[in-house]
Amino acid sequence: MADYQPVPDQIRGDILVVGGGISGMTTAIEAAEVGKHSILVEIKPSIGGRVISTNQYFPKLCPPTCGIEINLKRIRLNPFIRIITLAEVLQVSGSPGNYEVQIKLNPRYVNEKCTACGDCATVCEIERDNDLNYGLDKTKAIYLPHLMAYPMRYVIDPQFAKDERMKKCVEACQYKAIELDMQPRTITAKVGAIVWATGWKPYDATKIDNLGFGKYKNIITNVMMERISSQTGPTGGKIVRPSDGKEVKTIGFVQCAGSRDENHLPYCSAVCCLASMKQATYVRTQYPEADIHLFYIDVRSPGRLEDFYVKMQADQKFYFHRGKVAKITETANGNLMLEAENTLTGEVSKVEVDMAVLAVGMVPNTVDAKPPLETTLDPYGFIAGDSDKGVIGAGTAMLPCDVAVSVQQATGAALKAINIAGRR
């Protein structure tokens, strides 16, 4: 259940799950369905995490919101789960079986009376960059995070809460749901175990100088590609070049953009090969004649996912080039020249494309926000195994992985947490 009443100052639970993406959601609901009280805290205004901004999953090419809806259905009526959004873990003390956690609740500026009718946004004059769409378009300063937001309630971007112009929204709301003077508060949760599922962020592509992201408009990242392919994205799902809105005749996918690279991310991000091949299907659906080029070091499609790779290879206009793209430059009309080097022979191949997609890798959010207690992280910021001293990791906080593996991990994390919580 969501926070339909203000959260009390003191709460209790068997398990605290930090991060409301697909992994955290899974751990919390799986434990709740065993009858354990789970508290799920999410820093954003809605749970759902990065899968919400994903257009389709490989290999089934099905919408992620389908699984989210089932999970929401499970969550909505389960009395053993409490969802708290806009919440940050400040501090943790105690030991396995007995933790005390300080949680900061950031103001939503919209209270429990909101019915998501949207009258406030209609009158709102201020716009903000839409983080869901990686800044590719705008929302109003008061906005519904997405169509399947949970809780289904508007939120005000904190940087505009003090803006005079927001008063118009207050007046428009017939339910008295907007409170511009809402203050942050801190609550205490006593729990038996803590699962850390704070997920990942895309590697900052501007750090890869030679690939020209940020310099040339028609180079985008794979996460942006998900948005421009999505009905709820900035282009309503139409794949076009950012510079001039031109249709795409040739497109290049640049694998290992940062990953498997000592200067950036030395590990493999595990999902990018399949993600790019999946994105190639988005292009193919819209442009039956487009030339699709993919540059790779190794194509990594483990297990049954190999079938997806085999299927892609049957596409006559989908060209797989072995070689790492060493340089991207802009040519006439905003086109791009991709130069790839065969790592063994040193041979250079050049391909000109309308648009390039950098398959950037996964950086664990634990790099910036380290888990509390004596949790061991590996040199790349991933949570290194289970620790009796620290938190239990789940999903991409542990290793770069796809949704199926994240959910596998997260389901197991529920049992690990139950066993630790049982020690009290």
């Binding site: 339909y4 065993v34 699984g67 999505s230 030395p266 297990g303």
Partner: protein
């Protein structure tokens, strides 16, 4: 208890601005004949909820109709406990947000939804859970790393565990592995598999009973009440099962194209592990040391002639084995010939570490031939290398990196026949698929030896793996309370298998707990309703027993269904299958939907107001109708929606009811079927499609046009297609003309 219905109409969110609420009250009281109907400015407010609660307490209201927003919005607020049935008449998303305000058609739509909701409440009862005394013991089959981890995790959580292992010792493949992959930074050093410690912990655990040298002769019954008989004669009851029966290596004997058999010095990777564990690496032919060795990757894997899939671990296995060789022979030349090096996530660091060894030479290439040189060494011809030229390597030894075959696969079986859920259109609508599946299961390995009508084992997905088809739900299973874990589910390494064991065990624990309180497991988790069969009227047509995706119904000799309520997932596909209409749930049944159809007001043909009935799957398609509303997408007001648990629960009698009562057209909207099906109950959307054949026959009987009934697939993300689907269908119906049975 007699039902007493209260109708509560919300005036917020543009409802009162768009429709005449007074008229809606009239509809509820005059047409619905409810004793009580109230309105509120904002029903979801504290005061609104209190208003309803007061009537439940004071007026004895036990059926609540909330005419407001979708039931996906704030259902927790309108949950008044198990004894109070609540239904939403969705007049926000379906009506006022998607239609012209203050319009006759919009008003009629809102009135109909209130009538339908009242009818629904009149013909349903609160679900009474079905409970019996059940066992919460977990049986784990397989004593490898997955099974050991599973057994210990369940036992640590306080559950009794029975572990069944076919060999005389525990540990599985880990007993044969010299070392495991690096698991800790800097991801360079091989690690102990850890099986000994784990096996000891399992054997000494007070909650675990271990049966070694034992296989399962028979598993009968249902979740919470499985009766198991072992080959050793032991008999016991368990509540749920984790199948961790693992894998076997793909037989190297089949890899003659890679030279297997021409020299004892060509071995499989699994033999290499044994060699390292038992005294070290030596040339098998003469026990001498080696100077050179070649690892051939994808030996059988990623090969349409052998295993079309990638076995996921072999690249790392060969890197690990190269390290064994290097440690024993500091000067030996080591070659690894691969298609792609697949070292996901942090294991890339291990690959980088091995690449730093200058005498380990790795190249992409295809093996053109393997032969024996005159000096007894082995010659490997490699073509299509990255160097752009063919190369020949002469080596003392060759290791074939063979892949993983699930223990659930029978060797001789051609791959195609195994793809039970993926075999496309069933030839004969109603029965073929079920029969085919039962036959398929009999051909598979007999491990569980279930006494289920639909086969002895878990249905396999592809290539013999009993894996889930759902990305978001990797433990989804078609045999309730039986979960596959580890190498049997998908190719994976020890570390992933151990994680997998925790996941599957959690699901097993969840199953025994749910069953004990009479609740369904995923995806209708917590549902307390269950199907009741009025068997006196059964004609033994066997449709229900064949169509149940979860094998919940067995049969007696005559073909009468034998229900197993604890296997049931409450999808109601059986209800849709039954031509005699004898299957019902307390809160979802044939009569309920028929009554909802009956109360919809059908204008007569002279009013030029056609009516379309849409049966929509509540899992994906219905939320997308909500989203269309949220986006204020507009569509015609001739449509009336009835949500179904699954499109597979559609009983064709309802289509007949709709046409008989004067509807001009019927739309069926459900999830995607086929290989990449999205149906949450696996076969529901496919079965609904199959039933269209019968629907067409019915239309012919009634001398009605085929176009009057259409079926659509819709994904949850397809909300933008809703107006077009509804409006195009209306155009089609207007083209065909009014239903001649209207007003009869």
């Amino acid at each position: 208890m007699d039902s007493k219905i209260g109708v509560y109409i919300c005036k917020g969110c543009d409802i009162a601005k768009s429709v005449d609420v007074e008229k809606l009250i009239n509809t509820a009281i005059k047409d619905g004949k409810v004793p009580l109907c109230k309105t509120h400015e904002v029903l979801c407010s504290h005061e609104g909820i209190e208003l309803i609660k007061a009537d439940i307490g004071g007026e004895g209201i036990n059926r609540v109709v909330v005419a407001a927003c979708s039931n996906r919005v704030f259902p927790e607020l309108f949950d008044f406990g198990q004894d109070i049935l609540t239904d939403r008449a969705n007049i926000r998303e379906y009506v006022v947000w998607s239609h012209k305000p203050n319009d006759d058609d919009t008003q009629m739509m809102a009135e109909d939804y209130i009538r339908m909701s009242i009818a629904r409440m009149k013909s349903s009862e609160p679900a009474q859970p079905y409970t019996e005394e059940t066992s919460k013991t977990i049986m784990v089959i397989g004593g490898g790393m997955t099974g050991l981890t599973s057994a210990k995790a369940a036992a640590d959580a306080g559950y009794q565990v029975v572990l069944v292992e076919k060999e005389s010792q525990l540990g599985g493949w880990a007993t044969k592995f010299a070392k495991a992959f690096p698991k800790h930074a800097p991801y360079q050093e091989l690690e102990d598999t850890g099986y000994k410690t784990l096996a000891q912990a399992v054997e000494s655990h007070t909650n675990i009973k271990v049966h070694k040298s034992a296989t399962i002769e028979k598993t009968s019954g249902q979740p919470g009440k499985f009766a198991v008989k072992l080959s050793t004669g032991a008999e016991f009851n368990v509540g749920a099962i984790v199948q961790a029966t693992g894998w076997r290596p793909y037989p190297a004997e089949k890899l003659t194209h890679l030279g297997y058999g021409i020299s004892p010095n060509i071995i499989a990777n699994i033999d290499m592990e044994a060699m390292v564990s038992n005294g070290g690496i030596k040339k098998p032919s003469d026990g001498q040391s080696i100077d050179s060795i070649v690892f051939i990757q994808c030996a059988g894997s990623r090969d349409q002639e052998h295993l079309p899939y990638c076995s996921a671990v072999c690249c790392r296995v060969s890197l690990k084995q190269a390290k064994y060789v290097r440690e024993k022979y500091p000067d030996a030349k080591i070659y690894i010939i691969y298609k792609d090096v697949r070292t996901p996530a942090q294991s890339e660091l291990f690959y980088a570490h091995i690449q730093n060894d200058d005498a380990i030479f790795m190249t992409k290439g295809e093996i053109a031939g393997v032969s024996k040189a005159s000096d007894g060494k082995i010659l490997i011809d490699v073509k299509e290398t990255l160097l752009g030229e063919d190369i020949k390597i002469k080596a003392d030894m060759v290791v074939l990196a063979t892949g993983m075959v699930p223990s659930t696969k029978v060797d001789e079986e051609p791959v195609a026949t195994e793809e039970a859920p993926a075999d496309g259109q069933p030839q004969d609508g109603v029965t073929a698929d079920g029969k085919k599946e039962a036959a398929g299961a009999e051909k598979g390995a007999k491990i569980l030896n279930l006494t289920y009508r639909q086969g002895t084992d878990l249905p396999t997905l592809k290539y013999g793996f009993p894996d889930s088809h759902f990305i978001c739900f990797p433990y989804e299973t078609r045999r309730t309370a039986i979960y596959a874990a580890g190498g049997v589910r998908a190719p994976m390494d020890l570390s992933a298998a151990s994680d997998d064991a925790y996941g599957a065990t959690l699901k097993a624990i969840q199953a025994v707990e749910s069953v004990a309180r009479g609740a369904a497991v995923h995806p209708r988790a917590g549902d307390m309703s269950f199907p009741e069969l009025f068997l006196q009227r059964c004609t033994q047509c066997k449709r229900c027993t064949e169509e149940c995706p979860f094998g919940a119904l067995d049969e007696d000799e005559k073909g009468t269904p034998l229900p197993n309520p604890f296997r049931c997932r409450r999808c109601a596909i059986c209800l849709g299958a039954c031509p005699e209409r004898i299957i019902s749930f307390k809160n979802y049944n044939v009569n309920m939907i028929s009554q909802m159809i009956k109360v919809i007001h059908i204008p007569d043909e002279f009013e030029e107001k056609p009516r379309i009935l849409a049966f929509i799957c509540e899992n994906d398609a219905l939320p997308s109708v909500d989203m269309a509303g949220l986006k204020r997408l507009q569509y015609n007001a001739m449509i009336r929606i009835i949500p179904l648990r699954c499109l597979g629960s559609m009983n064709i009698v309802w289509v007949g009811d709709a046409l008989a009562s004067g509807f001009d057209g019927v739309l069926l909207i459900g999830c995607k079927k086929g290989d990449d099906y999205q149906c949450h109950f696996v076969r529901g959307s496919e079965l609904a499609d199959t039933r269209m054949t019968n629907v067409r026959d019915k239309l012919k009987q009634l001398v009605l046009e085929e176009e009057r009934v259409q079926i659509h697939e819709l994904a949850i993300s397809d909300y933008h297609k809703i107006p077009q689907i509804f409006d195009d269908f209306l155009a089609t119906i207007e083209g065909v003309g009014p239903n001649p049975y209207k007003g009869m």
